[in-house]
Symmetry: C2
């Protein structure tokens, strides 16, 4: 029995009546755990084992909270499978107290810096990219053509510019532009172009007859002279259009080429935190480590966003008390209400999350997923709530109310103004963006080792006790500073793997 | 006055109390028309002039139908501007008779052929393309990487294969996969891969943990062995994933390389008709000519689809009598009802169509736009109605109930199985697809001349009487056969301008 007795499981909270199998190959029936419990079944990695007998309708407790109720009797040592757990009701939004005990965040963290590109508006870029915004999908072919041509013909002349990126999307025409919800995709497109990595030097390619007027996409940093219309009558044929766009692009490249990296305090980081393809380890290893790093950024005076409404919904009663102002708490609750109604209108609810991959990775339902998901927000005070596609307004920790869809959340955090993206995965995703670096953190070493060139940081050693949450949190913090400075290239950039921009459009198509 | 007297305007129907200015620079105040009317204002090209005094609340008649009611008094010779017209109520869907007088379509058209690729399932391709389907946006970076690598490294070895195309989209995860409306994007993705131009040799790149199971995307022509999962544990790192995908791709390329063009009757054409960036000429020149060509295809035994629910809504009472079966008529009406409710749910209605470009081009409202839009359906019997993303089932004329959005309609017609796309524009769009050739028809010579290398066929001479609708209709018919045979390359393919696939997702994001 000596070998078998070595096996441990992870009990996250002392109140938990389930534990997590940490072994990468799972554990077999008959295995004896350190606490003397003998497994009644084979249990895969990340899945739950009953630490006590659980009667029908008894609560199943993990993270110290009720993640569901037993549908049938589950005896000690049995696999607490998804099919045995009933989803509890979500927290009642109207009974959450807005009273928030003002807590003092701990001592500030000083002396950390990175080499960034400071912009006229005070924001700081971590890359130097020419953004080619577009008003409508119709022009995507031209925008891609021009971006490719700029890379081949112009970038060699402007060595300080990292890249030229067409900001293509699927919106802009064939939409009910005056429907109330249309504001979401419209402000998203506009605000993406204001991302600090574009340095305020964006051009807009429009068609001319589209619903979304290109004039709505310009801002303080650019004007109508930065708009290029394909239907402009001065162009005879395609080549003249390309020449026109190249000329406009070159004017912006000249200005971008003057940007130089300079030492900036860590407080200029704007970090978008996200997780996707999560497993049971996400909430134990990588998300808590990311939360620790988020706290470090906040202590250093920087900005952190967390998002994913459907993954926060079941933990919102734990988050409202972390707000510093009843108005912020109310905004947080309102963002949940909006989403409840949105899902209901589409005849769906929060049980539509999780994914089959989450379940396969040991996450039985959205409550369990939520408890892991919010860990990446750390422990700081929540100072603001912004709507999908809105720009971040404050230093500190902000809840950006976006869908949980990886690529939509990323697009909206980009619009909010992140200059650094942290993405945690347990199942594995090649996710990347061409506008902002994405640090991918693996929640378990099995994935991180297999995907050695796709994952930037392995949080797996936390599960085996080889590293602490604090250690990996500091590693991630330092990695953010290095990546922000252009000293370290992330996996997705090295491999050239970049996702499309995907808008959140709750409004109708016509 | 002799020079001024030459000016004509176009009166489409004898009952019309408005005419259309055909001159490319518009007509000036004081110009005398052939019928003796003197213009009271400058009127731009494509816009309407009052041919009689129109009192407040009097009908404004064009195409012989009421396109609206005068808001104010409009005197003969005045510009009938958009602001002067009230939008009428849409046809009442519940009062349209389903009684359809069975009409006999005229004599069959025989002897026309093209050189196509005949598939095992009997369908015929017009191109020979390796399709790389994807289950989720997460994998788009890998799919693009693999498609590029295939083009550079493998296609030279398989000269009969025209192209390798990643079928990327924004769906697959972070969605309420069991919401009723989710069936629309799911069947669209599945059916796109069945387009005849892929010859049944599609591979599917999946991630592994996504909501949309890749197994749901395979069909009779392929099996689960055609699915590639990035999370497959046999892959150590990115290069092994790429090698795995390349190996799977090559197996399909070998089969595609055996495809040879053979003479096929014109009845094997499946034509998707669409218009976008329309102006007042679209409904007078290009759409009627396309309708004539559509009739020729139907007479030759082929299949034609027309679409765009919001542009058909106001003409549906004219279309139901063209159905050959009360069930088809009912399906047509039901597709309108579904869309009315969908728009209402998003607090929008049919007035969300037209676009600013339509209005600038002389189309005041969606009624006027609809009358022009349905002209491209010709005069044939409507034999079937299919939902968005469904496959076409019958020869003859089918209404494919898609949104009017150019890029969404095209994506859905692709899923329906078109092997030839006709796209009519008056304002101009570079629209193209990499899977199926798109013939772009210009509605006016001003555009067609300026965009000489972007427009494939100019229907403008119809407005000036230099060509008849029949003549341009036959030109388009012959061009379809040549393009389908690979003898003529369309502008968008020559310039490499291709739009993204854009799904219609009426269901919620999570």
């Amino acid at each position: 029995m000596s070998e078998i007795e070595k096996h441990t499981i992870i009990q996250i909270n002392k109140a938990d009546n389930v534990g997590i199998v940490a072994e990468s190959n799972g554990l077999r029936e008959g295995t004896m755990l350190k606490n003397g419990i003998v497994l009644k079944q084979d249990i895969p990695m990340g899945h739950k084992v009953a630490l006590a007998d659980i009667m029908p309708d008894d609560p199943v407790i993990k993270y110290g909270v009720i993640i569901g109720y037993a549908k049938i009797s589950i005896t000690k040592g049995e696999w607490v499978e998804t099919s045995k757990i009933m989803l509890p009701s979500p927290p009642d939004l109207d009974s959450i107290s807005l009273h928030s005990a003002k807590k003092h965040d701990s001592d500030p963290l000083e002396g950390y810096t990175f080499e960034g590109y400071r912009n006229r508006d005070g924001s700081v870029g971590t890359r130097n990219v020419l953004g080619i915004s577009t008003s409508v999908q119709c022009v995507s072919g031209l925008a891609e053509h021009v971006a490719r041509k700029i890379k081949h013909e112009l970038l060699p002349k402007y060595p300080n510019v990292d890249d030229a990126v067409a900001l293509n999307h699927t919106y802009g025409c064939g939409v009910a532009i005056n429907a109330p919800a249309a504001i979401v995709p419209i402000r998203t497109i506009k605000n993406i172009a204001q991302n600090p990595n574009f340095g305020g030097e964006v051009l807009v390619i429009g068609l001319g007859c589209e619903k979304l007027r290109p004039e709505r996409l310009v801002s303080d940093s650019n004007g109508e002279s930065d708009i290029f219309y394909m239907q402009d009558e001065r162009f005879q044929g395609f080549q003249e259009m390309v020449d026109g766009a190249m000329e406009l692009a070159e004017a912006h490249l000249k200005k971008l080429n003057e940007r130089k990296r300079e030492t900036c305090p860590a407080s200029e980081l704007v970090v978008g935190m996200q997780c996707g393809g999560s497993d049971a380890f996400s909430g134990i290893t990588a998300n808590p480590a990311a939360g620790y790093a988020a706290d470090l950024i906040v202590k250093a005076g920087g900005s952190v966003m967390f998002s994913e409404v459907t993954e926060v919904r079941d933990a919102v009663h734990l988050l409202v008390p972390r707000t510093n102002d009843p108005e912020v708490g109310k905004a947080l609750i309102d963002s949940m209400k909006w989403y409840d109604e949105y899902l209901q209108q589409g005849q769906a609810d929060r049980s539509a999350n999780p994914t089959p991959g989450n379940v396969g990775g040991g996450l039985s339902n959205v409550v369990e997923k939520a408890m892991g998901s919010i860990a990446k927000s750390g422990t700081s005070t929540i100072v603001d709530v912004i709507g999908p596609g809105e720009r971040i307004r404050k230093k500190g920790l902000t809840f950006a109310a976006t869908p949980a869809s990886d690529f939509i959340c990323g697009t909206l955090q980009l619009a909010a103004g992140m200059n650094m993206h942290v993405f945690i995965t347990g199942r594995g995703t090649p996710y990347g963006l061409s506008m902002v670096p994405v640090i991918k953190v693996g929640s378990n070493s099995k994935l991180s080792n297999r995907w050695y060139d796709l994952i930037d940081l392995d949080a797996g050693p936390i599960a085996t006790g080889k590293k602490s949450i604090e250690e990996v949190g500091w590693e991630l913090f330092h990695m953010m500073l290095d990546v922000a400075s252009g000293k370290t290239q992330v996996a997705s950039d090295r491999l050239g793997l970049h996702n499309d921009l995907v808008l959140f459009n709750p409004g109708p198509i016509t």
